[in-house]
């Protein structure tokens, strides 16, 4: 098998310097603020981008979680990798990831971004099998394409991960269910 573009192998090197005034209580307080305004970057590659758009529209309405799609990496916190990552697109994804400021997270949406999905087979020459080959992925949303509710649950799971559990949509839902039963 001739050499296939191996640019995807070395992941993105970022020099992360933690906050100077970074004591835990302050960071937790700030995380509560960050969590309720997760601005993803519009960055749809393939079919999953349509379901990401559907999640942003009237019926599933991501705005109620404070999630507004920004088209430039300079103003976004979350990079939702929605679609198949081809070798030709890897340098661009790395550039966009490096150009995003401050605390940032990655959601791998759809089977293609998780593991190459329906296009992953032994002789595949065109795609990278998964975003975690070169990006620090936080949340994996399975599905081909995942339903908009799946993406919303992924974002809520990201909220739980950022605030280390203090904001937990599922726990709130269970409490509401218990209250309703009483």
């Amino acid at each position: 098998m001739p050499s296939i573009d191996r640019s995807a192998d070395h992941s993105v090197e970022l020099k992360e310097s933690p906050a100077i005034l970074g004591f835990a209580a302050l960071q937790d307080l700030l995380n509560l603020a960050r969590v309720n305004s997760l601005w993803p970057m519009t960055f749809g590659i393939a079919c999953c981008s349509i379901e990401m758009m559907a999640a942003g529209m009237a019926r599933f309405d991501l705005d109620r979680f404070g999630i507004i799609f920004r088209s430039t990496p300079r103003q976004s916190d979350v990079m939702i990798v929605a679609g198949t990552i081809s070798h030709k697109f890897v340098p661009t994804i790395k550039t966009l990831w490096e150009q995003m400021p401050g605390p940032k997270w990655v959601i791998a949406m759809g089977n293609c971004a998780i593991s190459g999905g329906p296009f992953a087979y032994e002789g595949q020459y065109a795609i990278v099998n998964g975003a975690d080959k070169f990006l620090p992925v936080d949340i994996y949303v399975p599905g081909c394409p995942p339903r908009p509710e799946g993406l919303i649950q992924g974002l809520l799971q990201l909220q739980k991960k950022i605030t280390k559990g203090t904001i937990d949509a599922n726990r709130r839902a269970e409490k509401a269910a218990r209250r309703a039963k009483k």
């Binding site: 079919c47 349509i50 559907a54 081809s86 296009f119 002789g123 394409p145």
Partner: protein
């Protein structure tokens, strides 16, 4: 720490600036990279660079059996997935001479036309959003969700369908689906008044689209443009009418054609086409025959050796499967002729001379789906 680039004097007296309307751009409907040479606001040359979502569908066709390629077909153009599904199944049925029961043909036409409406809804509203109107996008998606609910009841998925099989469709449609479709069509007809008030009579929209990005019939012929982009330039070519397939000859619908060939004409053709699709669905629902939905086909089919080209009409234009089979259980070669490929590269002839804003409006009106170009 801030690296101020030194100004080399070569670039000072040069007026042509190269701009990347790049892979990650809200108006390119996916990962299309348009390299524009600009003189101030005016586009001098446009070079579309594609391949950012190339997944190798045609290579996958050569290492899996005929049935395994079905899921790929709806991922080539995920906005008209059912139409591509129907096309692939009809091409293989024609190759093997498989009979399809009457009811299955009607169900295929109903689901394909619903899929065409949902694809046009998204194509038009995304194009209108590129010009700056965000509200129609919300209305369009509201209607689209209704179509997706209907299709999800029957096919099980919202976007990447795999509903057609060789010899028919996967399962039957029930009365609830038929009533739901009729309710949806009445509702959408009412919504067309809103769309015309909101978009067609909007003075800003008219100023931005009238006389912009004109594709002449000659250019269309040279580049092989098909679909609404061609019917906006005065050529009455629709594969459903010109090369009738399936049960389309039994419905009477006409093909909307406009003469001007500008961005407004292509938009009006798509709006009129949605109304025609609704006529077809109603006629198909009215005389939906009874009977089985799938003829008996062996689990693994062995088509005879030979090659076949089957053309059908997707929301973006004439799609064609060129299939070469060598009589075994695995296709020898499948070439998918996608309309967006030819429609996109006509931009290299149409864009020079316009402003950037017009270039984005023209790109939106061509309504490309990028994985369809990259395959």
């Amino acid at each position: 720490m801030l690296n101020i680039k030194t100004i080399d004097d070569a670039s000072i007296n040069e007026r042509v600036y190269q701009l990347n309307l790049g892979p990650q751009h809200p108006s390119t409907h996916g990962v299309l990279h348009l390299l524009l040479k600009l003189d101030g606001e005016v586009v001098i040359a446009a070079d579309p660079i594609v391949g950012y979502s190339h997944r190798g569908h045609e290579k996958m066709a050569e290492n899996r059996i005929w049935e395994q390629f079905l899921p790929n077909t709806s991922r080539i153009d995920y906005l008209s997935g059912l139409i591509y599904n129907q096309g692939y199944c009809m091409a293989v049925e024609k190759l093997c001479g498989i009979e399809v029961p009457e009811r299955a043909e009607y169900i295929r036409v109903i689901t394909s036309e619903l899929n065409r409406i949902s694809s046009h809804l998204l194509g038009i509203m995304a194009f209108v959003m590129d010009i700056g109107a965000f509200t129609p996008f919300l209305y369009g998606w509201d209607d689209r969700e209704h179509v997706l609910d209907l299709l999800e009841r029957v096919t099980g998925s919202r976007l990447t369908y795999c509903y057609n099989r060789f010899g028919g469709v996967r399962n039957d449609i029930d009365q609830e689906f038929c009533d739901g479709t009729r309710r949806f069509i009445d509702r959408l007809r009412g919504r067309f008044k809103d769309y015309h008030n909101l978009i067609t009579e909007n003075i800003i929209f008219i100023k931005r689209t009238r006389g912009v990005g004109i594709i002449t019939e000659e250019t269309a012929l040279e580049f092989g443009v098909t679909g609404p982009s061609l019917r906006g330039s005065g050529v009455n070519y629709d594969v459903r009418k010109n090369e009738p397939y399936s049960v389309y000859p039994e419905f009477d619908f006409e093909i909307p054609v406009r003469k001007e060939g500008d961005v407004m004409a292509r938009y009006q053709v798509r709006m009129a086409e949605m109304e025609q699709s609704m006529n077809i669905i109603e006629q198909a629902l009215d005389n939906l025959p009874e009977g089985p939905v799938r003829s008996h086909v062996p689990r693994f089919i062995d088509p005879p050796a030979g090659d076949i080209y089957f053309a059908f009409e997707s929301a973006r234009g004439a799609v064609g499967y060129y299939i070469v089979s060598d009589g075994t259980r695995v296709p020898y070669r499948i070439k998918v002729r996608t309309p967006s490929f030819s429609n996109l590269f006509v931009l290299t002839r149409v864009l020079p001379g316009n402003f950037i804003a017009d270039a984005i409006a023209t790109l939106g009106s061509i309504d490309v789906v990028v994985p369809e170009i990259d395959r």
